[in-house]
Assembly symmetry: C2
Homo-oligomer: 322 residues x 2
C-alpha cells in the first residue's frame, strides 16, 4: 500500500469520478476563527466518496476476473458506489443488504443496476450467504475499507486536496476526515504524505463510536462497545481495519470527537454557507473544524464532507436548529 497505487488509481479514475471543488465561505472562517476549506464529496457520483474506491477496485481487476461480477455487503454508501461503478464497467454487482434496510436505499441500489439480495439479520448469516454466492458465480468481494485498491481509490481525494491547496498557496494545514473504518482517512494520509507532507490528517468520529481516536491513543486496535445506531450511521464501524490502522497510526494526528448536536449544526452551516447537502456522518469533520477549534493548531483546516445521503426528516432536524 503506497503512493504509486494511489497514482495508478487516479489514472484509472480520471474522467470517471468527479474532481470535486474546494469550497469556502467567509462566514465559516469567522465561525471557526481560521481558514476553513471544504472538500465536498457529497457531490461525487452516488453522493459519497465511496464511488472512488469502488471504481478503483473494479478497474484494478484483470478482465477475466472482472467479467464474473462483484459482490459487496452494505446498506449504505458503499452499496451505491459499488453498484454504480459496476454498471459503469458493464458488469453485474450483487449487494447483500439487511431486509430491514430503508426501502429507499434498497430501491436506489437496484435502480443503479445492482442485484440486491436481502437477508434476515436475526436468523441468517450474511457472510455465509455472500460466500456461497461468490463461490457459485466467481464474484469478487469488494470490502468497504480493508482493501488496498479501495484505499487507493479513496486516496485520490488526497491527491486532489494537495493540488487544490497548492493552487491557493497553502502548504500547511490540518486535514480533518470523517472516519469510519479508515479507508478514506488512510488513503488521504498516504496521498498527503507524498504530495503535501506539511499537512497532518486527523480523523473525526462521533461520540460513542470513537474507536479510531482510542486506537490512535493506545497504539493498538480498539473496538466500539456498540456497532450500530447513532446519528452518524455512515461512519459507524466496529473498529479500524487491519490494513487501515497501521497507516492511520503512522501518519495521523490525534483523533477528534464530535457530538450529535455539533454534527447537526455543521449540517445547517453547510446548507447556509456552502449550499451543499451533508449527511450526519459526512458532516463530522466540518463539525470539528467549526466547534472543536480549541483542539486544532493550524491557521487553515481542510475538511471532507464525505457524503450527502441523508433522509429528508433528518435534514429537517438540522434546518430546525437555524
Amino acid at each position: 500500500m503506497n503512493i504509486d497505487m494511489i497514482m495508478a488509481a487516479s489514472t484509472r479514475i480520471d474522467g470517471r469520478a468527479r474532481r470535486t471543488p474546494l469550497l469556502s465561505s467567509p462566514f465559516l472562517d469567522e465561525l471557526a476563527g481560521r481558514k476553513v476549506l471544504v472538500k465536498p464529496e457529497c457531490l461525487q457520483h452516488t453522493g459519497s466518496f465511496k464511488f472512488r474506491g469502488a471504481w478503483s477496485a473494479i478497474s484494478a481487476l484483470d478482465e477475466g476476473r472482472r467479467a464474473n461480477g462483484v459482490i459487496a455487503y452494505s446498506s449504505g454508501n458503499h452499496a451505491q458506489g459499488v453498484a454504480y461503478a459496476a454498471a459503469g464497467h458493464g458488469i453485474s454487482a450483487v449487494i447483500i443488504m439487511p431486509a430491514d434496510a430503508p426501502k429507499l436505499k434498497i430501491a436506489n441500489t437496484r435502480a443503479l443496476g445492482a442485484e440486491v439480495v436481502l437477508y434476515d439479520r436475526a436468523s441468517e448469516d450474511r457472510d455465509a450467504i455472500g460466500a456461497k454466492l461468490a463461490a457459485e458465480r466467481g464474484l469478487h468481494l469488494i470490502k468497504p475499507y480493508d482493501d488496498a485498491q479501495v484505499i487507493a481509490g479513496q486516496g485520490t481525494v488526497g491527491l486532489e486536496i494537495a493540488a487544490q491547496a497548492a493552487e491557493l498557496g497553502i502548504e500547511q494545514a490540518e486535514v480533518l476526515v470523517c472516519c469510519g473504518g479508515g479507508g478514506l482517512t488512510s488513503g488521504i494520509a498516504l496521498a498527503l504524505e507524498a504530495k503535501a507532507p506539511k499537512m497532518r490528517v486527523r480523523p473525526v468520529e462521533p461520540e460513542g463510536f470513537d474507536d479510531v481516536a482510542r486506537s490512535l491513543a493506545s497504539g493498538r486496535i480498539e473496538r466500539n462497545a456498540q456497532n450500530a445506531g447513532g446519528l452518524c450511521d455512515a461512519i459507524v464501524t466496529p473498529a479500524p481495519g487491519d490494513l487501515t490502522f497501521p497507516i492511520l497510526n503512522r501518519l495521523c494526528g490525534p483523533g477528534l470527537v464530535v457530538s450529535d448536536a455539533q454534527v447537526l449544526d455543521a449540517m445547517a452551516q453547510a446548507f447556509l454557507r456552502l449550499k451543499i447537502v451533508a449527511e450526519p456522518g459526512g458532516a463530522a469533520a466540518l463539525a470539528a473544524a467549526l466547534y472543536a477549534g480549541d483542539q486544532l493548531q493550524s491557521d487553515t483546516v481542510i475538511c471532507t464532507v464525505s457524503g450527502g445521503n441523508v433522509d429528508p426528516d433528518v435534514f429537517a432536524r438540522a434546518l430546525a436548529r437555524i
Copy 2:
C-alpha cells in the same frame, strides 16, 4: 455587447469566481426521459451567479473611478455578490435595501463588508436616495442586469458550459436558464452563440411572472402585472431589460413556465440526487427539465441552478414533498 467582452470578463474573473462543476444523476435522467446536466451556481461565492457579474463590472472600472466605491439596489443575491466583489477589490460598497428586507439578508450583506442603507418602501424613493449618495461620493452604480459588464460576467457561465459539455462530447442541447431580468440568460446565450452554436438557450420563469416568455412570443418588451412576491423571488422582475431583451429575442428559443409545485419538487430532487441546495428561483430551470419535457426537443438538456440562498422554512417545504 459581444463575445469579446465575455472573454475579457473571463480573464478578469479567472481565479476569483469558482469554476462550478457540471453535475448529473442517472435518477434525474430517468425522471426527465433524457440526459440532464446541471450547472450549480449555488456553489458560486455568495451562493449565486451574481458574484460573476459584480466582479466583472467592478474589475472593468478604471482604477480612479473604482477607488470611490460602488452602489447597488438589491435585497437579494445581487446585493451579496456586489458586497463580496467590492470587498475582494478592497473598495467600499453601499447597498440600498428596503427596511423590511429579511434581517438575515441585511446581516449577511453587512458581514460581507458592505454599508447597508435602509429605506422605507412606503414613504421614501429608493432611486432618489441612491442618486444623492452616488453624487455625493462619486459611487458607481452597478445595475443587476441591464449593464454590459454585468451581462459579460454572467456570460462566463456560458463559456464554462460550452467547455464542460465539449469535454463530455456534447454539442447539441437545450440550455435552460432561470430568468429574471435576463442578465444570466443573455450572457449565456451570447457565449454559446460563439462557443457552442448548436445549443439553444431557453429562459425559464415561474407562473405569473412570465414577462420574458410573453416578450419573446410578441417580439416586444412585455411587463408583469405584479412586480413582487411569489415563491421564486430571486427571478421576479417587472420586465426584460433594454439591453438584455434584444439579445434574448435574437438568440433564445421559446420561454418555459413552471408552477410553484414543480419548483418545490425540483428543489427536492436537487437535494436527493445532486446534494445541492437550490433556492426556488434557482430551481426553475431544473423544474422545466424534469417536468416540462413535452415542451423540449433535445436528447440532452443543460440547466442552471442559479442560486441557493433559501430560508430553512422554505427548504423544509420542499423536503416535506419527498
